[in-house]
Symmetry: C2
Subunit: 425 residues, 2 copies
Amino acid sequence: MAVTIPDGYEPLTPEALPNRLGALPALTGRLGEPGGWRVREVGDGNLNLVFIVEGAGGGLVVKQALPHVRLVGDSWPLPLERAWFEYNALIRHARRDPGRVPEVLYFHRDQALIVMDFLTPHVILRKSLAGGVEHPKLAGHLGLFLARSLFRGSDLSMPTAERKADLALFAANVALCDITENLIFSDPYFDAPMNRHTSPQLDAHVAKLHADRDLKVAAQHLKAAFASNAQTLLHGDLHTGSVMVTEDDTRVIDPEFAVYGPFGFDVGMLLANFWMAYFAQSGHEDRPGGRDGYRAWILDTVDAIWAVFRGEFTRLWRSERTGILYQASLYEDQGDALASEQALAELLHAIWEDALGFAGVEMHRRILGLAHTLELESIEDPDRRAPCERRALAMGRQLAVGRRHFAGPADVRALAERIQEEDLS
Amino acid sequence: MAVTIPDGYEPLTPEALPNRLGALPALTGRLGEPGGWRVREVGDGNLNLVFIVEGAGGGLVVKQALPHVRLVGDSWPLPLERAWFEYNALIRHARRDPGRVPEVLYFHRDQALIVMDFLTPHVILRKSLAGGVEHPKLAGHLGLFLARSLFRGSDLSMPTAERKADLALFAANVALCDITENLIFSDPYFDAPMNRHTSPQLDAHVAKLHADRDLKVAAQHLKAAFASNAQTLLHGDLHTGSVMVTEDDTRVIDPEFAVYGPFGFDVGMLLANFWMAYFAQSGHEDRPGGRDGYRAWILDTVDAIWAVFRGEFTRLWRSERTGILYQASLYEDQGDALASEQALAELLHAIWEDALGFAGVEMHRRILGLAHTLELESIEDPDRRAPCERRALAMGRQLAVGRRHFAGPADVRALAERIQEEDLS
């Protein structure tokens, strides 16, 4: 892939940053004069430069894309334009669910640079999930974010000309889509070069999944749905590493994979990461059963996310259904509000089924593919980690292939608990 | 809707045409010098100016968009850019199924003008279907066109960056999509201002359909699929008025509604128009049973279109599956060609179900909505026409709501024959 680098693009350094950005009112207004700025580079993700800049008046984050994958280097080029898609997603998310994403203070397209709130004392949700820390407001915040961002980015709500223009805008996010399309839906199911798994403990399980015909057909149907079914603007990478939390607050970050896709994608990827965290607990507890309470909290959180999502989606359906789909003129205006309720129930069930399918492949790629999770990777002993991973692989397979056969969250919860307790993996 | 008119755009007239286009080698090369051109305006469609230009060396068609709907006038503005989408679709169709569309000789974007082959002695297929004329090669040509245009415009075949760029290009065809979205999926199901039907004969049936909750829910699910599920480049208006025929030849014209959408849309709309023609025969026969043979030919044609489509789609799946979906690396390359066959069978069945749903709503909108069909409208006596229309409405309802429950074409044929013979409508 050839990456275009605009004239004048130059990666920031902590030393150069105050000089290069010190004249911007968006920054000096928050931080004070650049002479007093303290700058640290903290990017621990896979792709970008991330600076925390602190000054007399507070702190900011400066995120800049590099023309390659930071984790890998020059050999894996990646377009700078991803900052443009992230910026566009962030400002839409801020409108659609105010307060749930970091505020954007400044954006420069050619420098692939976004300046936004420094979230403090927030931590990445994965740390809490590995550490056994509960967040009482988390499920409510995430359920609302899913419902609002997905409903309000779709033809259920938007003027269709605006929705189609956004579809076209985000259709150019080819390179990051390509990562999703390959790393989630294909690579886990054959010996792709960048795959890795806990070996030799999982070797036999991996071979079994690679030979699983129904699974590999299901995964590609899901890939086709991801690539084609442009129902709404997705975050595109909504796992528990893209969520920052405190006791009271929740923020969704890093939407550079944003693209139009199926409602169920963000929902499923998010739930999958909770289910993986659930199976990871036995690698973290200090005695058998030591994390029983936390395990239950994780499953309660999944139930609550789905319940809040359903509730808010339903509220928006009844109060903000101003788009071209399922118009009131066909239903309520003809005195048949139950037709609208029927359509809603069918749509929510379709989203549920899709979400389970996407969850299933997400649980595979995080154990078989390139990118793993902190919750599982931080279990250092492979003999302790492997059984956790095996359980997650087994559940992922049931969800991907059997996604049509779970009536609701209670069925999936029962499956997770059975796999955990009886080790059916 | 505000329509932008480029500087210098001016509708052609037969008188002005030789002067304005007479210097173009694309025209003079085919027609000879403009002094000898004979020009007739023949647009009998709803939207555009169409001129036939004949000269010493042959004939050409000049098609020019008007900034409004010709059938309605200035009160219904429509963007000139539709010529741009038609041109782009025509050149793609010409590549994907050579010889099945008129050749484009010249295109001018600001004049919204396409110069193409004059097809002669071709007639619009609707004329044949109203007149009882058989075309032995028709089904083969249409089945191949469907398979090739749909397969080759999708992520099954195209480089995905190119597919996504095309998705973005055609996503701007908002105004014509809007016509489809409203006229096909919504207007037929409530008292929309432009609706018309054979009255009073069908009044009770129309009221029943307007009160049919399951139908109205199904129609909107189909609308959602049309608006969101960007599987491939559609012709977008592939009815029997968009097909020109001779004894030996078949050409598909007028793709100005082209947009990315579900595989099943073109297939379903085309089959629906054959089924409506089937039910129209009893309004045209000179004695009961006089068109029995032709009725059977129409159903044979439907069966053959689907069989040829399936066969060619299968051939392309096995030989040209070079896109990002259902990659050989997961299937054939692992020695599991049957996984690929399983995915194909599931995809073809999903296309079939979608096609039946789209066929159902197409059969409703052509009888209840703005645009009707020659095959039915040419039955002048409303008491003869109404029973034909009633049967088509009844079949459309079964297809739209029951689309998941027809195993294959034999089931649908049996339904059509039963409705025709027993008048279950």
